[in-house]
Amino acid sequence: MNEPAVGPTAAREPETALKTNAPLIPGDSVAGRALVVVIAIMTFLACLTAGSALLVAGASKAWRSDVSRDAVIQVKPGPHDDVESLVAKAVAVAAKAPAVESAHAYSKAESEKLLEPWLGQGLDLSELPIPRLILLRLRTPGAEDLTALRKALASAVPQAALDDRRVWAARLGAMAQAIVILAAALFLLMIVAMGTAIGFATRGAMAGAREIVEVLHLVGASDAFIAGEFETHFRGLGLRGALIGGVAAAAFFGAASLLSLSWAHSPGGEEIAAMFGSFALPPSGYLALLVVCGAVTLLTGLLSRTIVMRHLQRLQ
């Protein structure tokens, strides 16, 4: 075959059809695809952890808000006490307390109904000394000092005991906080594991692209330029993985929200709803998932850039 002559030629190539600025680090490789899978799984798990922590924190806030607005007076009648008059007296004492907005005494029938889930229906409970409950609605959630009411009750109705549920609310709060801290620790562990995987992948890619790096150096590319090319390459992989993992996590929470609606009235569903609320991630939760995906993408790029820069500096 004859070689074309060196010098101006008559042939004219349409310049607009030129392929330009292809990535300097070859994009599609087995190692690259494997890294996308690892990042997708890690992002999915990190999003699940973050989303679950947000659900528990939200549910805990709702529990404490509900619980701290209520208090309960329990009247335990003795064998010869007139329970109705004791309850009326306790309601009167409670109604006078400035912290109490309203007081609702459970009737005998209502109290027996409360026991039905445990004792079953159709039993004659008239012979049993069933305690009676008076539900108090407080004016300001959690801020009231109920010591005065407790003293007034003790002197007027010694058979009555006031439970302001604060100990219970504090325990619930501590438990929710522990779950959130555990989730944060898990989240950090996943980020560390992901960082390690990215580090291995970057070193592998550098080893595979040694020839490219050398040519770039010899044609006058700076370390920062070469590291920038690797950063772009890995940020692209990170974005793909993060989007796959993030979308999967969002779909999971969407599906869980729909499922929780369908099982909401089953006994198990009520327990789950008590722990996680309605299982519906609020819009701010989905925003948090988006932030996780963005952070994973940036982390992938920056980490690979740092590793490449350190490697290139050692080459000198």
């Binding site: 070689e3 074309p4 060196v6 030629t9 190539e13 030129l18 050398e214 006058g220 590319a221």
Partner: protein
Amino acid sequence: MGPEVLGDLNFSVEPQSFQFLTGPSGAGKTTLMRLMLLSLKPTRGTIRVFGRDAATLRKNDMTTLRRRIGPVFQDFRLLDHLSTYENVALPLRAMGREEKDYRAEVVELLRWVGLGDRMDAPPPVLSGGEKQRAAIARALIVRPELLLADEPTGNVDPLLARRLLRLFVELHRLGTAVVIATHDLHLMDQFGFARRLTIGDGKLAVFDGLPS
């Protein structure tokens, strides 16, 4: 440490000069070219590149100096996943220049070296001669002050070799210092004005060219 490949070499490449670096295979021509390109460090001695002592250069300075040198490698060193156009434009891209700013320049040079219709082709589908010309175009695109060409005519027929040499001579006339490593005596004889640096047994002998 193994035996010294090169020892007690003392020479300079003057601006706008033209020289052949010659010697038998394995004499150290490529090693000397790599030393001049700052891709190897000497175990002893001093190399000054554009007036700077290579031993005291920081990495950024090395990058700046390399941008004034156009290297043509014996094995071309083209990146297979890029097109011929992208390979030739690589030094400009590495300098951070915008593609739209250098496109016309690169296209013109590719046409000039006869690769106008191969701009989109990746190196694996180019013939040896085409690769050679792409590698030369990549070295020329930055208008280097010093061109270091290692066996640039090793893969082409004598006719094309002579044409490529004329290209280097043209570049030299435009002000570039040219060093061409070759063991093709016949080719050197056709450009008698060029200085000859001959390596043998690790030593260097310099023969001035004939007046042109």
